[in-house]
């Protein structure tokens, strides 16, 4: 069973309307690479020139922000959901 990347409505124009994209299990970075290989428009939007996720992109595995885990090396297990969300502030 692969893992899933969930695409928010506002970004579905990049996937031709798909709300979920199946990716191999392993690490978040490889899962994103797989997404980008299929939908190249995600490339420079998600990952900056330094190879890290852009400052205003938040990535979650299940419920957890990968910045609290192992970043792009965070493990993604079978059936787990990776969520991409734009950052916002508030208060």
């Amino acid at each position: 069973m692969p893992a899933t990347i969930r695409i928010p409505t506002s970004l579905r124009s990049l996937t031709g309307g798909s709300s979920e994209v199946e990716v191999p299990t392993g690490q978040v970075g490889a899962a994103l690479d797989d997404l980008i290989a299929r939908y190249p428009d995600f490339g420079e939007r998600l990952i900056g020139e330094d190879g890290k996720p852009r400052r205003f992109v938040n990535i979650f595995v299940a419920e957890d922000d990968i910045r609290f885990l192992d970043g792009l090396e965070t493990a993604v297990g079978e059936g787990q959901v990776v969520t991409i969300l734009p950052a916002v502030a508030g208060g």
Partner: protein, 406 residues
């Protein structure tokens, strides 16, 4: 007349039309409102502002909405008081307190919210919402009621009781099992599902503009001069960046002479991602799990933290963090010296001013303004002391307790 003409990405500077949206579809960067400043400069003047209402709507030319149709409870134009007793206690010269506890719902959040709810009306939105640490919830529920809109306000389940009680009387409170950053993420996802105006998400570019009025009022109340140094509490970082933007705009439209304003930030040690990055000389604001009595500042992942940090460094200011004990001392110091009762966020600001003064980062030759953003009655659990002395209803009873022994 509205002079806002588009949204612009703060990262890649691409522009887009004014709409309920908050991030750049090209680079995910945050969007902000762009004005036709030449047209503003032609329209605005000190005299015109002086004739305006005693609210933040006197600065309507620099806000992104039509003031005549505002969802207005009278936010803004709060007192700027000279705080000589506080200054003396801290060994400083000229200190002013912007007392923003005296807004309609007793925090500065009425400023961004009156703008955001007015924008919701312009967009034809029927329901407004927010992710809040409490004060924003109060402000959204009140302004929504005033505008005849439905509201849902989402808060962490463990915020101060008074904030929940006051808000529940005005609208629908949803207490979420999680911290602010969890609530925020939930609201980002709800924004995808519901046709709401979430003031600090899809209305955020407009919402954030309201906070600039703190800078406008500061300058006007100082006789159209900029202060030398301001100390601002930092949660998301948006307030600090917008106060800086406000000072810049006043110069740009010719209302004040250019001057350097040092901008410093105040955080609680238990939630200090921006202060930590400042101390480390880093640009990377790493998220934290908050644990502090300053719940209104408990945002562990401040999306404007990076911009706040950049603004502080550019201006020659500093960001410091203070302990929970120092926060309580700060609350009591402001109360006893100036008669202003603040919630812990204000205690953070006062304690940070004290710390910066001690370290020589604020000096006695500077004209300093501090921003006190929320009222102490919102957080009685923090300011509660022992029960007062009880006496019989007799003069002797009073004397026995209080008369100084000779």
């Amino acid at each position: 007349m509205v002079f806002a003409d588009s949204l612009i990405c703060r990262e890649c500077a691409r522009t887009s039309e004014l709409a309920p949206s908050y991030f750049c579809e090209w680079c995910f960067g945050p969007l902000e409102v762009l004005y036709d400043y030449e047209a503003v400069a032609d329209s605005i003047s000190r005299e015109k502002i002086a004739q305006g209402p005693p609210t933040l709507w006197r600065y309507a030319d620099l806000l992104p909405v039509e003031a005549s149709a505002a969802a207005d409870l009278g936010a803004g134009f709060t007192p700027l008081v000279r705080a000589d007793r506080l200054a003396a206690a801290l060994g400083l010269g000229e200190v002013w307190v912007k007392n923003d506890t005296l807004n309609p719902t007793n925090s500065f959040k009425d400023r961004p919210v009156t703008v955001a709810v007015t924008k919701a009306l312009e967009f034809g939105i029927k329901t407004v919402a927010c992710a809040s640490t409490g004060n924003l919830a109060n402000a959204v529920a009140a302004h929504a009621a005033r505008a005849g809109l439905d509201s849902y306000v989402f808060v962490p389940y463990d915020i101060e009781r008074a904030k929940i009680v006051a808000t529940a009387a005005l609208g629908t409170v949803v207490a979420v099992q999680g911290n602010y950053d969890d609530v925020n993420r939930l609201c980002v996802q709800l924004n995808e599902q519901y046709p709401w105006g979430i003031v600090n998400i899809n209305l955020r570019p407009y919402y954030a503009e309201g906070s600039k009025t703190l800078a406008f009022e500061t300058a006007e109340q100082l006789g159209w001069q900029l202060p030398d140094h301001v100390v601002v509490p930092v949660a998301s970082g948006a307030l600090l960046t917008k106060i800086a933007k406000g000072f810049d705009e006043l110069v740009q439209v010719g209302l004040v002479e250019p001057a350097d304003v040092r901008i410093s930030g105040a955080q609680a040690e238990g939630c200090s991602p921006v202060a930590t990055a400042f101390a480390e000389g880093s640009d990377d604001v790493r998220p934290q799990k908050p644990d502090t009595i300053a719940k209104s500042l408990a945002i562990g992942d401040p999306a404007d933290g990076y911009y706040a940090l950049r603004q502080v460094r550019r201006s020659g200011g500093a960001v410091a963090a203070v302990s929970d004990d120092e926060i309580v001392e700060g609350i009591h110091l402001l109360a006893r010296t100036e008669g202003i009762l603040t919630e812990p966020a204000g205690g953070v600001t006062v304690a940070t001013l004290a710390k910066l003064a001690k370290e020589g980062l604020v000096t006695d030759s500077e004209r300093v303004v501090i921003y006190i953003t929320g009222h102490g009655l919102k957080t009685p659990e923090v300011i509660a002391t022992d029960d007062p002395v009880r006496i019989p209803a007799t003069v002797d009873g009073f004397r026995a307790e209080f008369e100084t022994k000779e």
